[in-house]
C-alpha cells in the first residue's frame, strides 16, 4: 500500500460507505483464508435456508391439498407433506451445523493470522512510530479490534449469511406464488431500507463517539489508579472524582444516543412489515377473488412476509455491529499499512564484516518529524574496540546518537557506517546480532531472571547463564536472590530494584555478545554501592568491544577511552577525560565540576 492511498483514506470520513466497502475488500485481500471453501459454505447456507421456507410451503401444500379439499381434510396428504418436510428439515439442520462450523474454523484461523501479522508489524514499525501511538491503542489493534471482526464474522456473519440467503430464497418462493404480491412486499420494504441505510450511517458515527469516549474514560480510570499516591498526597480526590464522573457520564450519553438511532432503525423495519402484511391481504384477496391465488398460497405468503421481516431486522442489527467490526478492521489495516520507515533491507542487504566494528557518522543531521533539528552535520569516527562516552546536558541530542547507531531511527541527512557499510544496507539479522543496545529503563519481561537473560540467546543452558553472571562478577548477587536464576522479576521487573533491573539488562546484553554495544545509561538513582556494582558490571560487559555509552554519570565518561561532548546538537569537544578538563571554561569542564559538586 502506498503512502498516497493511506493519506486518501484518512481524509475520507470514516463513516463513508465507499470506504466501508474498500475496507472490506482490503480486509478480505489480507486474509485469503476467508475465501477458502467460501462457495461450499455459501452452498450449505443456501440449503440451510431452504429449511426456513420449508414450513410455509408445507403449510400452503397442506391447506390447499389436504385441508380445504372437498370431503374434509385428507389425512394421507397431510402425513405425506409433513413427513417430506421433516426429512427436508433434518437435511437443512445438518447443513446449518456444517456451515456454522466451517465459518468458525475459517474466520478464526484467518483472524488468528491477522492478529499475529499485526503484532509482528507493530514490532517492525520504527521506534518513533511505536512511541507516537498510545501503547494501549497498539495493543487493542491486535486484541479487541480483531475480536470485533471475529465476533462480527461469527455472530453477525452467520446471521447475515443466513438472512441474506433467507431473503433470496424467500423472494424466489414469493415470486413463484405471485409476482404481484412480491411487488407489494418490495414496495413496502424498499423505502424502509433506504431510511435504514441513512440511519446506519449516523449510527456508525455515533458508535465512533462511543469508542472515543470509552478511550477517554479508560485513561481517566487509569490515572485514578496509577496516580493514587499523588491524588492522596495532594488531597485532590474531589477533582479526580469530578473528572471521572464527567468521563463516565459523557460515555453513557454517547451510548444512549447510539441506541436511540439503532431503535429507530429497527422500528422502521417493523412498520414496513406491517405495511407489507396489510398490502398483501388487500391485494391477495383481490387476486384470490379473480382466481389467480389459492387460500393456501395467500396464507403461505403471510408466513413468508414474516420470514422477510426477521432477516431485514436482523440484517439491520448485524449491520450495526458491522460498523464496529469494519471500524476495527480499518484500524488493523491502518497499522498494517504503515510502511516501517526504518525497514530491513532484507535479501538485498549486506552482512556486517566479521570482527570488531568501527563507527563513522558522515554529515549526519537529524530532526524529529515536524520538529527542530536535534543533530547538526555530525562527522565522527570511533575506532574498533574503543570505549566512547557521549555526554551533554538534557536535550543536547546525545541520546539521538544511540538511536541512530542502532538504527532505531534513520538520519535526516548523511549516513552512519559500521566498518564501512552504510547502516541502511545492513540486514536486520546481522545488525541486531552484532549491535546491541541497552535502553535506559532496562525493561524486563514478567518471567524469571534466567529467562530474561536468555531472551538474547534462547539456546543457553542454566550453567552457561550462571557462568555469564560469574564472569560479570555478579555470582554473589545471583546467589543472594531467593531462587537464583529462577527468581521471578515481576511485571516490568518491578520485583527487583532499579539497579538490579539494570544488572539483569546488562547480563542480557552480555550474553548477546555483540561487537558494538550501545548503552543508554539509566538516569534513575540507585544507591552508590549498587552504582559501583553497576560500573563494575559495565566494565566487564564492555571489555573488548566497541562501546558507545550515553553517559549521565560522569564516572562513566571518566573511565572511557574517549569522551564526546555534545551541546545543542553539535559535537563541541572530544578526547580523553583528562585532556578535556584542561580548559576550565570548556563545556565538559563545567559539566564535570557540577557533577563533582553533586557526588563529592
Amino acid at each position: 500500500m502506498t503512502a498516497t492511498t493511506t493519506t486518501d483514506r484518512r481524509q475520507s470520513p470514516p463513516t463513508e460507505s465507499a470506504s466501508t466497502w474498500q475496507t472490506l475488500r482490503r480486509g478480505l485481500a489480507l486474509s485469503p483464508e476467508l475465501r477458502v471453501g467460501l462457495a461450499g459454505t455459501l452452498a450449505l447456507a443456501l440449503v440451510y435456508m431452504v429449511g426456513r421456507v420449508a414450513v410455509p410451503v408445507a403449510v400452503q401444500q397442506g391447506i390447499d391439498r389436504g385441508l380445504t379439499v372437498p370431503g374434509g381434510p385428507d389425512l394421507d396428504v397431510i402425513a405425506t407433506v409433513v413427513l417430506l418436510t421433516t426429512a427436508v428439515l433434518v437435511v437443512t439442520t445438518t447443513c446449518g451445523y456444517l456451515m456454522t462450523r466451517r465459518l468458525f474454523v475459517v474466520s478464526e484461523t484467518a483472524l488468528a493470522n491477522v492478529r499475529t501479522r499485526a503484532f509482528r508489524h507493530v514490532h517492525d514499525l520504527s521506534m518513533l512510530h511505536q512511541q507516537s501511538e498510545r501503547r494501549g491503542s497498539l495493543v487493542s489493534r491486535v486484541t479487541s479490534d480483531v475480536d470485533q471482526i471475529t465476533q462480527f464474522l461469527q455472530w453477525g456473519g452467520v446471521l447475515l449469511l443466513v438472512n441474506l440467503g433467507q431473503l433470496v430464497v424467500t423472494t424466489a418462493v414469493m415470486l413463484a406464488y405471485s409476482w404481484q404480491l412480491t411487488l407489494v412486499v418490495f414496495a413496502a420494504f424498499g423505502p424502509a431500507v433506504l431510511v435504514i441505510r441513512v440511519l446506519q450511517r449516523r449510527l456508525g458515527a455515533a458508535y465512533g463517539v462511543v469508542r472515543q469516549r470509552m478511550g477517554t474514560l479508560l485513561a481517566a480510570i487509569g490515572e485514578s489508579v496509577v496516580g493514587a499516591p499523588v491524588i492522596r498526597a495532594y488531597g485532590i480526590a474531589g477533582r479526580t472524582a469530578r473528572r471521572l464522573d464527567e468521563a463516565i457520564d459523557s460515555q453513557r450519553r454517547a451510548q444512549q444516543r447510539a441506541i436511540r438511532i439503532s431503535v429507530l432503525g429497527s422500528s422502521v423495519g417493523e412498520l414496513a412489515a406491517g405495511l407489507a402484511l396489510a398490502g398483501v391481504v388487500v391485494l391477495g384477496v383481490t387476486l384470490g377473488v379473480d382466481g389467480t391465488l389459492s387460500v393456501g398460497q395467500l396464507t403461505a405468503f403471510l408466513f413468508l412476509v414474516t420470514l422477510f421481516i426477521q432477516p431485514v431486522q436482523i440484517a439491520t442489527e448485524v449491520l450495526n455491529e458491522a460498523q464496529n467490526a469494519i471500524a476495527g478492521w480499518r484500524r488493523v489495516l491502518d497499522v498494517l499499512d504503515v510502511a516501517p520507515d526504518v525497514a530491513d533491507p532484507g535479501a538485498q542487504g549486506r552482512d556486517l564484516p566479521a570482527g570488531p566494528l568501527d563507527v563513522r557518522f558522515a554529515g549526519v543531521s537529524f530532526a524529529y518529524p515536524g520538529g527542530a533539528r536535534v543533530l547538526h552535520d555530525v562527522d565522527l569516527e570511533i575506532v574498533a574496540k574503543s570505549r566512547v562516552a557521549v555526554v551533554g546536558e538534557t536535550g543536547s541530542g546525545k541520546t539521538t546518537f544511540a538511536k541512530l547507531l542502532t538504527r532505531l531511527m534513520d538520519p535526516s541527512t548523511g549516513e552512519v557506517l559500521l566498518s564501512g557499510v552504510p547502516l541502511r544496507q545492513v540486514r536486520f539479522g546481522s545488525l541486531r546480532s552484532r549491535v546491541v543496545m541497552v535502553p535506559q529503563d532496562g525493561f524486563l519481561f514478567d518471567a524469571t531472571v534466567g529467562e530474561n537473560v536468555r531472551f538474547a540467546r534462547p539456546e543457553l543452558t542454566d550453567e552457561q547463564l550462571v557462568a555469564a553472571f560469574t564472569e560479570l562478577g555478579l555470582a554473589d548477587w545471583l546467589d543472594g536472590l531467593p531462587a537464583g536464576l529462577d527468581t521471578p522479576v515481576g511485571e516490568r521487573g518491578e520485583a527487583l530494584s532499579v539497579g538490579e533491573r539494570q544488572l539483569v539488562a546488562l547480563a542480557r546484553a552480555y550474553v548477546a555478545d555483540p561487537d558494538l554495544l550501545v548503552l543508554d545509561e539509566a538516569t534513575s538513582a540507585v544507591d552508590p554501592a549498587t552504582e559501583v556494582r553497576l560500573q563494575r558490571t559495565l566494565d566487564a560487559v564492555t571489555r573488548g568491544r566497541t562501546t558507545l555509552a550515553i553517559a549521565h554519570r560522569l564516572s562513566t565518561a571518566q573511565a572511557a577511552d574517549e569522551v564526546i561532548v555534545v551541546d545543542r546538537g553539535r559535537i563541541v569537544q572530544r578526547g580523553p577525560h583528562d585532556e578535556l578538563l584542561r580548559d576550565p571554561e570548556s563545556v565538559y569542564a563545567l559539566l564535570y565540576a557540577s557533577w563533582l559538586e553533586q557526588t563529592r
Binding site: 451445523y97 461469527q154 554501592a529
Partner: protein, 623 residues
C-alpha cells in the same frame, strides 16, 4: 450459578426499578402483539380470505378492517420495541455508569496500602470490563421476561383454542426452553476459557509492546511473534470449540418450532376432521409457532451471559466491599501560619499487610524516632530497601504506622483533616506522575489561590520555567498520557513545581531529582535553601543519594534495614559510622581500588555490601 446470576439480575432490577418496568412493559406489549398478530392473521385468512374467495367477491369493509388491524398491530409492536430496547439499553448504561462511579469512588477512598496489594491491571479491569460484564445480561433481560409472559400467554391461548393443539405447544415450548438452558450451560465454560485466553493474548501484546525497544534492539521480533502466535492459536482453538457448539444448537433451536408447526398441521388436520376446530384456528396456531421461535432465544441469551455476569459482579463487589479506609481527623492546622512545620516520628513501626491473612507482613520499619525541626533540612540516607520511601510516605500519611506516631507541629497526622494535611505537607515521589492535562492543570491541580503567577514562580524554583516557556503552548501545552511528551527530568521538575506551588510547610523529596542533570539539581536545591523572601519557608525531609544533596542537610539520618542506625551531621557520621561511610564514599573507594588494581573491577572488594540485595519484594512505596 443460576441462583447467583439471578440474584445479580435482581439487584439490577432493584437499582433501576422504574426503567426496568418500562422495558418489561414494552416487552410484554411486544409479546402480546406477537400472539395477537398470529390470531389476527388466522382470522384474516379464515374469516376474510376464505369466504371472499369462496364467494368470489370482496367485502370491502372487512378487508379494510383486516388491513388496518395488521398495520395497527405492527404500530403497537413498534411501541413495544421502543419501550423494551430503549429501556433495556438505558438501564444497562445507567447501571454501568453508576457502578463505574462507585468503583472509582472506592479507589479514591481506599488507602494506598490497599492499592499496593492490587495490581494496576486488575483495578483497571474492575472498573471497566468487570462492570461491563456484570450488567451485560441486562440488555436482553426485558426481552426475556417479556418472552416468558408471551410463552405463558401462548399456552393459555392454545388451551382456549383447542386442548389437542395446546398439548403440541406444551411439548414444544418446554423443549425449546430446555434446549436453551442446556445450550447456555454448555457454552458458559467454553466462553470463559476463550475470555481467559483473550486476556492472556492481550497481556502478551501489552508486555511485548511495552518492551518493544528491547525486542527491537535484540532483534527478537520473531521469537516474540512466535510466543504471541502460540497463545493466539490456543485462543483460536477455544473459539472454534465455541463455534462447534453453536453450530450444533443454533440450527436445532430453529428447527424445533418448525417441527412444532408440522405437528400442528397433523394434529390440526385430525381435529379439523373431527370438527373440533376451524381453519382459522389452525392457521393461527401454526403462525404462532413460527413467530415465537425467535423471542425464545432471548432467554438463552440472558442465561448464556449469567456466568460472566456473576464473575464480573463478584470482582466488582470485592472492590465495593473492601474496607480499610483511612479516616481523617477533624483538627486543622492554621492555614495562614507561614512558618515551616515540625515533623516528628516517635517509635514508628511499619509492616506491609500480608498478601494472605495467615502470613506475617514484611516488617519494614522499627523503632524509628526522629524530628525534622521547623525550617531545617534532614536527609534520609541508607541502602536500597532500608525503608526511606516508607518514611516519606508516612510523613505525608499515604500510609499509617502500625504503631508509634507521626506528628506535624505536635499533632498526630491521623487527627488532621485531609485538607489540612494536603495543605501543610507535599511529597515529591521518586517516580513522577503527571496527569494527561495541561502543564498549568498539572501544577495547580485546581487548588485555590494558585494562579498563573504562582505557577510560574513554582516553575522557576523547580528550574522548569525554561523548558515550559519553550513548549509550543506554554502552560496550556498538553503533556500527554503520563507526560509522554516530556523527558524524565522534565517530569520530575514538573512534579516538584506542583509541590512547591502549594507553598507546603513541609516538603518531602523522595529522591525526586534523580533524573535531573546534576547541574540543574544543584540549582534547584540552592534555590530551596536560599532563604530569599520569594522562596516559601519550608522544612525539608529529603531522601538522598548524591553527596552534594546530603551535604546541604542540617542533619543526616542513616537507616539500615528499617532502623535508624545513626544520626548527626554528615561529617560526624562519615567519621563514626562505617556503614554510612562505605555507602556514601563507594565511588571514591571504587576509584581508589581501581587505581590500586590497575583497573576497575579487579578483586578484592574493599567495601562490604550493606544491601540486603533482594528480599524478593520491592519495598519502595512509590513505584
Amino acid at each position: 450459578m443460576l441462583r447467583r446470576g439471578l440474584s445479580v439480575l435482581g439487584l439490577a432490577i432493584r437499582e433501576q426499578p422504574r426503567i426496568f418496568a418500562v422495558a418489561v412493559a414494552g416487552s410484554v406489549v411486544f409479546g402480546v402483539m406477537v400472539i395477537a398478530s398470529a390470531y389476527v392473521v388466522g382470522a384474516v385468512v379464515g374469516d376474510v380470505v376464505v369466504p371472499a374467495i369462496a364467494r368470489g367477491s370482496v367485502a370491502v369493509g372487512a378487508l379494510a378492517l383486516a388491513a388496518a388491524a395488521l398495520f395497527g398491530l405492527s404500530v403497537l409492536r413498534v411501541v413495544g420495541i421502543f419501550g423494551r430496547r430503549l429501556g433495556a439499553g438505558f438501564m444497562q448504561f445507567r447501571l454501568q455508569a453508576a457502578y463505574r462511579r462507585r468503583v472509582t469512588r472506592r479507589y479514591l477512598d481506599l488507602p494506598l496500602s490497599w492499592h499496593q496489594r492490587n495490581a494496576t491491571g486488575t483495578l483497571l479491569s474492575n472498573a471497566n470490563s468487570d462492570v461491563e460484564a456484570a450488567w451485560h445480561p441486562i440488555a436482553p433481560l426485558p426481552f426475556a421476561v417479556g418472552t416468558l409472559v408471551m410463552l405463558v400467554g401462548a399456552i393459555i391461548s392454545l388451551f382456549v383454542t383447542d386442548w389437542a393443539l395446546a398439548l403440541v405447544g406444551l411439548a414444544v415450548f418446554p423443549a425449546l426452553f430446555t434446549l436453551n438452558v442446556v445450550y447456555s450451560r454448555r457454552m458458559a465454560p467454553r466462553q470463559q476459557r476463550a475470555q481467559r485466553l483473550r486476556a492472556e493474548v492481550s497481556g502478551i501484546a501489552h508486555e511485548s509492546f511495552d518492551g518493544a525497544l528491547v525486542v527491537k534492539t535484540m532483534g527478537r521480533e520473531a521469537q516474540e511473534t512466535a510466543r504471541f502466535a502460540a497463545r493466539t492459536g490456543q485462543l483460536r482453538d477455544a473459539l472454534i470449540s465455541v463455534g462447534r457448539l453453536r453450530g450444533l444448537f443454533d440450527p436445532l433451536l430453529e428447527t424445533l418450532p418448525s417441527l412444532g408447526t408440522l405437528a400442528v398441521l397433523v394434529v390440526g388436520a385430525v381435529r379439523l376432521r373431527q370438527g373440533a376446530i376451524t381453519v382459522t384456528e389452525l392457521v393461527s396456531v401454526a403462525f404462532l409457532f413460527t413467530v415465537l421461535a425467535f423471542p425464545v432465544r432471548a432467554i438463552g441469551w440472558v442465561l448464556a451471559e449469567l456466568p460472566r455476569s456473576v464473575a464480573g459482579w463478584e470482582r466488582v463487589r470485592r472492590v465495593l466491599d473492601a474496607t480499610g479506609e483511612m479516616p481523617y481527623g477533624d483538627v486543622t492546622l492554621d492555614p495562614a501560619d507561614p512558618r515551616p512545620a515540625t515533623l516528628g516520628f516517635a517509635d514508628v513501626h511499619f509492616a506491609y499487610e500480608p498478601a494472605e491473612a495467615h502470613l506475617p507482613g514484611t516488617q519494614v520499619l522499627g523503632e524509628v524516632t526522629f524530628t525534622v525541626p521547623a525550617g531545617r533540612t534532614v536527609a534520609l540516607v541508607g541502602p536500597t530497601g532500608a525503608g526511606k520511601s516508607t518514611i516519606a510516605s508516612l510523613a505525608v500519611r499515604l500510609v499509617d504506622a502500625r504503631s508509634g506516631t507521626v506528628t506535624l507541629d505536635g499533632v498526630d497526622v491521623r487527627r488532621l483533616t485531609a485538607g489540612s494535611l494536603a495543605g501543610t505537607v507535599a511529597l515529591v515521589a521518586q517516580v513522577p506522575f503527571v496527569f494527561d492535562d495541561t502543564v498549568r492543570a498539572n501544577i495547580a491541580l485546581d487548588r485555590p489561590g494558585i494562579g498563573d503567577e504562582e505557577v510560574w514562580a513554582a516553575l522557576r524554583l523547580a528550574e522548569a520555567d525554561g523548558f515550559v516557556a519553550a513548549l509550543p503552548d506554554g502552560l496550556d501545552t498538553m503533556v500527554g498520557e503520563r507526560g509522554a511528551s516530556l523527558s524524565g527530568g522534565q517530569r520530575q521538575r514538573l512534579t516538584l513545581a506542583r509541590a512547591l506551588a502549594g507553598r507546603p510547610r513541609l516538603l518531602v523529596l523522595d529522591d525526586a531529582t534523580s533524573a535531573v542533570d546534576p547541574r540543574v539539581e544543584a540549582a534547584i536545591l540552592a534555590g530551596l535553601r536560599s532563604g530569599d523572601p520569594d522562596t516559601p519557608a519550608t522544612s525539608i525531609l529529603v531522601v538522598a543519594y548524591r553527596r552534594a544533596t546530603i551535604a546541604l542537610a542540617d542533619e543526616v539520618i542513616y537507616l539500615e534495614q528499617g532502623r535508624v542506625v545513626a544520626r548527626g551531621t554528615h561529617p560526624e557520621l562519615l567519621a563514626t559510622v562505617p556503614g554510612y561511610a562505605d555507602l556514601v564514599t563507594a565511588y571514591e573507594q571504587a576509584e581508589a581500588e581501581g587505581e590500586q588494581a590497575g583497573g576497575p573491577g579487579g578483586p578484592p572488594r574493599p567495601y562490604e555490601p550493606v544491601i540486603p540485595l533482594n528480599s524478593g519484594l520491592d519495598v519502595e512505596v512509590d513505584r
